[in-house]
Amino acid sequence: MKTFLSLAVLALTASVAPAQMLINGAGATFPYPIYSKWFNEYAKVDDSVRFNYQSIGSGGGQKQILAETVDFGASDGPMSDESLAKAPRKLLHIPTVAGADVISYNLPGNPKLRLDGPTVAAIFLGKITKWSDAAIAGQNPGVKLPDQDILVVHRSDGSGTTYIFTDYLSSVSSEWKEKVGKGTSVNWPAGLGGKGNEGVSGQVKQSPGAIGYIELAYAKQNHLPYADMKNSSGNYIAASIESVTAALATAQIPDDFRFSMVNPPGATAYPIAGTTWLLVYEQQKDPAKGRKVVEFLKWAYAEGEKMAASLDYAPLPENVQQRVMKRIAEIKY
C-alpha cells in the first residue's frame, strides 16, 4: 500500500508541467468567442503563460476587477464614474473589438425593411402598434406590410447588446431617453423578454409580426432577416463588418476610451454599434503578470485584430489602434 501511494504521488508530480503563469480574467459574454481564440493562439506564441477567462457578464467583470480578484476585467458597457471612483488605482478602458445590434423581424415573405431611429424608438415604446403604420410604410414603398400587431421582443437578461441598443434609442429619441434611459437592463415599456440572443431570436422566429434586436454575429450565423437602418447622414445602411468599422472610424473617442459609438457621423456608418473593453489597472500589482498582460495586449492589436472578422466582429480601425497602443505603453509593471 505504502509503495503504491508513493509511486502514485511521484507519477503525479512528474506529470505536472513546469511552472506556468496563470492570468485570470472575467467579464462580458459578447466578446467571449474572440477572446477564446486569442488566448488559444497566444499560447502558441508564448507558452509560459496561460490565460483563463470566465464569461460571467459585464457586471461581474466590473465587480471582480474592482475587487482585484482577477488580473483583467471585460465589459460591454463602459464603467460609470461612480464605479470607477471605487477603484483603488487608475483603471484603464482598452477597447478591443466592436459589434452591432440588428433589428430582426418576422413578416411573411421576409421582405428587406428599412427603418430609422425614431420609428424603432416609437415601436419599442409601444406607440406604433401595427406594421401597416404610415411611419413604417413610408420608408418601405413597394413592400406589402400586413395590418398586423407588432409584437416587441427584448432581452430579459442584462446584456451589453441591450446597452448598445438603448444607448442608440436614447440618442435618437428624447422621449426614450427620459422615460427609459440606457443600461444593460432597463424598464421596457412594451413587449416580451427573451433570455439571451437565442431567446429573442427564438421568440421572433416563432411569432408572426414580431420584432426584436440581436447581435449581428448571431443574426448572420443563424441566417435571420434584419433591417437596414438610417444613419445620421440619411443613408440606409446594412449592418456589416465594414459599416461597423466605418462607424468606429468616425466616432468621437475621448482620451479615456469610454465612448459611445451609436449614431456616429459618417456616410457609410452603421448607427447601432458598440465596442467592448478590457479593464486593466495602469499600475499592475504583480510585475511578472503585468509584463505578460502588456505583451498579450500588444500581440492582440498587432495580430489578434486580424482574426476578428472571421468571427463576425469588427476590428478597430488603424487610427484607433494607434491611440490604444500608446495607452498600452503607459501600463506600468
Binding site: D157, G158, T184, S185, Q203
Partner: protein
Amino acid sequence: MRAAAPSPTADAPAARFAPPRRWPDVSFRWLALLAAATIVGLIFLVGWELYRGAHLAVARFGLGFLSKSAWDPVADEYGAWPFIYGTLMSSLIALLIAVPLGVGTALYLTEVAPRWIRQPAIMVIEMLSAVPSVIFGLWGIFVLVPWLRDHLFVWLKHWLGFLPLFQGPIYGVSVLAGGIIVAIMILPIITAVSREILRSVPDLQREAACALGATRWEIIRIAVLSYASRGIFGAAVLGLGRALGETMAVTMVIGNRPEVSSSLFAPGYTLASVIANEFTEATTDLYQGALFELGLVLLAVTILVNVLAQLMLRTLAGKSTGKVN
C-alpha cells in the same frame, strides 16, 4: 467486532434505555448530530447571507418593497409585487392542473389498475421527474407555446372569453403557459406522495364501505379519499414548494414582463426567473441588493410552504377522518 471493556450497566435489563457508554456509539451520536446541525446551519447561513446582501435594498425600501410594482434598473426603483404575483399565479395554476391529475393517477394506480400495469406506470412517471428543467423549457418554447398560441388559447378565448381571465391579446408565452409547464414538472412528486398516502389507507376502511353496499366510486370517495385528504393536502403543498422555485423552464415560457394583469394570456415574471436573468449583470449595489431581497422573499415563502407541508403530513399519522354512514 473487538470486545470492548464491559460497561457497568451492560448486563442490566434497562441498559438499552440508558445513554450509550461505548465510544463507537457515543462518537456516532455526535457525528449524526453534527450532520443534522450542519444542514440546519446551512439554511440559516443561506438566509443570513441573503439578508446581508439585501440590507441596502431592505434599508431603502422597507416593507413597501413587497407591494410596490416597479422594476427600473436605470432609475434604481425596485418593487417585488409583480414577481410575487407571477410566482403565486403560476404555482397556483400548476397546482390546479397537477393535483387532480396526480391524485387521479395515484387513485388509478392504487385502486383500479390491474397489478401488472402498476410498476411500469410508476417507472414512467418517475422518469418525468428525471428530465432536466432546461429541457422542459426548450420543449416549451418550441412545441408547447406555439400549440398554445394557435390552438388552446384560441379555444379558451372563444368559449370562456367572457371571463376577464381569458381576455386580451394572445402571445403564447404567458402566465398560463408557465403554469402548465410547472404542472408537468410537479406531477411526479404529487403522484408519488399521493400514492403512498393512498396505500396507507387501511383495507378495513374499504371493506367496511363495501360491506355497506357502496359502489367502487363511493368506496373511493367515502373510505379512501376522505381518510387520506389531509395527506393529499400535504402532497399538494409539497408540490407547491417545488413549483415556487422552478426557474429555467418557467423563464423560457412566461414572457418575462414584470406586470400584473388580470388575463392569464398576459406575460408575467417570477421571483426565480428575474434573479436568474439579471443577477450577473446587476451593476449598481442597490440593484444587486434588490435581487438579493427577492431571493430572501422566495426563500421565506418556500420555507413557509415546506414547514406547512411537514406539519400536515405529520398530523395524518394514526388519525382517521373517514366516516362511513
